[in-house]
Symmetry: C2
Subunit: 286 residues, 2 copies
C-alpha cells in the first residue's frame, strides 16, 4: 500500500455516487465530516452554485479536487460542430483550473450522428483533443482520457480500451493521461500490461463494482465488493505503476445507492474501500 494515501484520506467522492441529491456545498461538508481526502464534482454542480463560490469553498476545505467531470463529447455536434465542442471543452478546462482540479476527465463521445464509421469518430476525437490540449497546457490543467466500456462505444465513447487511450496519449504528447475506472476495463485481458505501460500517465483511479446481473449498463453499478471485479489486484497494479493519488468512488446506481441517504452512502464507501479495495481485515471509522 505504498502508493495510495492511507485510510479514508485516500478516498475521494465522485459526486455522481450520491446521485447529486444535495447541493455541492453540502456534499463538500459531508466529505469533510467523514474524513474523505478528496472530491470530484460535476460541471452542472459548479454552474448551479456559481463557480466562484464553489472554488472558494473548495479552497477553504480539507479536500483535494481529484478531477472535474467532465469534458469530452467531441462528436456531439457532428463533424462540422467540432469547433463548438472544442470551445466547450476549453470552458471546462477553465473551470477545472478555477477549482484547482487535478485533471479534467474526458469522455470523448461516440459515433457521429447518423454515421456508422467509428474510425471517423475517432479521427474527430483526435483532432479535437489536439486543439483542446494546447489550451489545457497553457492553462496548466492535465487532461485525463477515460476509456469507457465497449458497451458504450456507440453512444458515449469510441475510445474503449486503455490500450487505445494510451495510443492516443502517445500521439498527443505531454499534458494528457488517462483516468482508469475499474468498471470499464476489468474484463480486458491486456489490462495489467497496459496499466504498467501507463505509468505516471494515470491521472485518476475510479472504483465501483460490476453487478451480476447488471440490469442497466449505465446506471446499475455496484458498491465495491457487491460485484465481480477483482479490486485488490487492479489496485495493486495501479500502485505498482507508480500512481500515488487517491481512489475515487464513482457509482451510477439509479435504483439503489441514489435512493439512499448521502451519509449512508459515504459510510458504505469507507467500509467497502477498506475491505474490498485495500483488502483490510478490519475497517475503523473516523
Amino acid at each position: 500500500m505504498s502508493g495510495f494515501v492511507q485510510g479514508t484520506r485516500g478516498l475521494s467522492l465522485n459526486t455522481a455516487t450520491i446521485g447529486w441529491q444535495i447541493p455541492l456545498e453540502r456534499t463538500v461538508a459531508l466529505c469533510e465530516e467523514f474524513g474523505f481526502g478528496g472530491i470530484a464534482p460535476w460541471r452542472h454542480e459548479l454552474h448551479d452554485q456559481g463557480i466562484a463560490e464553489v472554488a472558494s469553498r473548495l479552497k477553504q476545505s480539507s479536500l483535494q479536487v481529484t478531477g472535474l467531470c467532465r469534458g469530452g463529447a467531441f462528436t456531439a455536434f457532428g463533424e462540422d460542430g467540432l469547433q463548438r465542442a472544442v470551445d466547450e471543452n476549453k470552458r471546462a478546462v477553465d473551470e477545472a483550473a478555477e477549482i484547482g482540479a487535478k485533471c479534467l476527465v474526458l469522455v470523448v463521445g461516440g459515433l457521429l450522428d447518423g454515421s456508422n464509421d467509428i474510425t471517423r469518430a475517432r479521427d474527430c476525437v483526435r483532432r479535437a483533443l489536439e486543439a483542446v490540449l494546447e489550451y489545457a497546457c497553457d492553462v496548466g490543467v492535465p487532461l485525463a482520457i477515460e476509456p469507457l466500456h465497449p458497451v458504450y462505444a456507440a453512444e458515449r465513447s469510441c475510445i474503449s480500451t486503455l490500450r487505445e487511450a494510451l495510443d492516443l496519449c502517445d500521439h498527443l504528447g505531454e499534458g494528457v493521461g488517462v483516468a482508469i475506472d475499474v468498471y470499464h476495463v476489468w474484463w480486458d485481458p491486456g489490462l495489467f500490461a497496459q496499466i504498467q505501460r501507463a505509468g505516471d500517465r494515470i491521472l485518476a483511479f475510479h472504483v465501483c463494482d460490476w453487478l451480476i446481473p447488471t440490469r442497466d449498463p449505465l446506471k446499475d453499478r455496484g458498491m465495491m465488493g457487491d460485484g465481480v471485479i477483482d479490486l485488490p489486484s487492479i489496485r495493486k497494479m495501479v500502485e505498482t505503476s507508480g500512481y500515488d493519488g487517491m481512489c475515487e468512488v464513482e457509482i451510477f446506481s439509479e435504483n439503489d445507492w441514489w435512493q439512499r441517504e448521502p451519509a449512508e452512502v459515504l459510510r458504505s464507501c469507507i467500509e467497502t474501500y477498506g475491505r474490498h479495495v485495500m483488502a483490510l481485515e478490519e475497517v475503523t471509522y473516523p
Copy 2:
C-alpha cells in the same frame, strides 16, 4: 464479393433469429423455400426432435449446416466440474458430426461461481478446450471459439476479443478457429488487424446489428441496417482474409423479431443482407 456465395444462397439462418418459435423441421422447410443456403440449429432443437431424424432431414435438404450452437460453458460447473463440462462438450461434438455441421460454436463461459478471478476462469477454459479439442479432431469437427462482447465477460464468456480468441487458437493448434459475430467485435479498434490475422481460421461469420438505444444487451439485437455496425466494411475484411463461407444471421430480439412471423423474419434477413451487408442497390427476392 469474391469470397461470399452470391445471393440468398450465401445466407444461413441461425434458428435463434426466429426465437425457436417453430419446430426445426418447419424452419428447415422455410429456409429451403426462401432459398437460404444454410442453417445453424441449436442443440435443444436436436434433442426436441430427435437427432437421427434431424440429421436425416438436413441431409435430404439443400442446406449446409454452418454451425451447431453451441458448446462451451466450460466454467459452468466450477473448477471441480471441468470434466463434466468436457464430457458435455464431447456430446456436442458428436451431435455436430451427426448433423454434418461445419463447426461447433463455443461460448466458453464466464467467471467461476463465487469467484472474481477472470484469469482463473480463462485458465479453466484453456484446459477444458485442450481436452475437447483432442476428441473433436478425432471425430473431425472443427471447434469455433466465439469471442463475446465484453458486456458478457462475467456471465457468459471470459474470452472477449478476437485477439484473445486467436491467442488461444495459437496455443491450441490445429482443429480450432473462431466464429466472428459483428455484434461482439464491431467496437474493437484492433478488429481489422485481427481479422487479417485470423485468415483461414474464420469458421463462421455472424451478422445482426447494434441498436441505439440498446435496451437489453442480451436480447435486443437489431436486423442488419437498423443499427450502427459498419457491416459492409467488416464483411469485406472477412472476405479479404479468405473466408468463403456463408453469412449467418443471428438475432436475439425478444420484443421485436421474436414476436414476428418466421416468414416475415426470413424475408427481412434476405432484404437487409443484400442491402446492408452486401451493399447492393437492388435486392431481388427468390
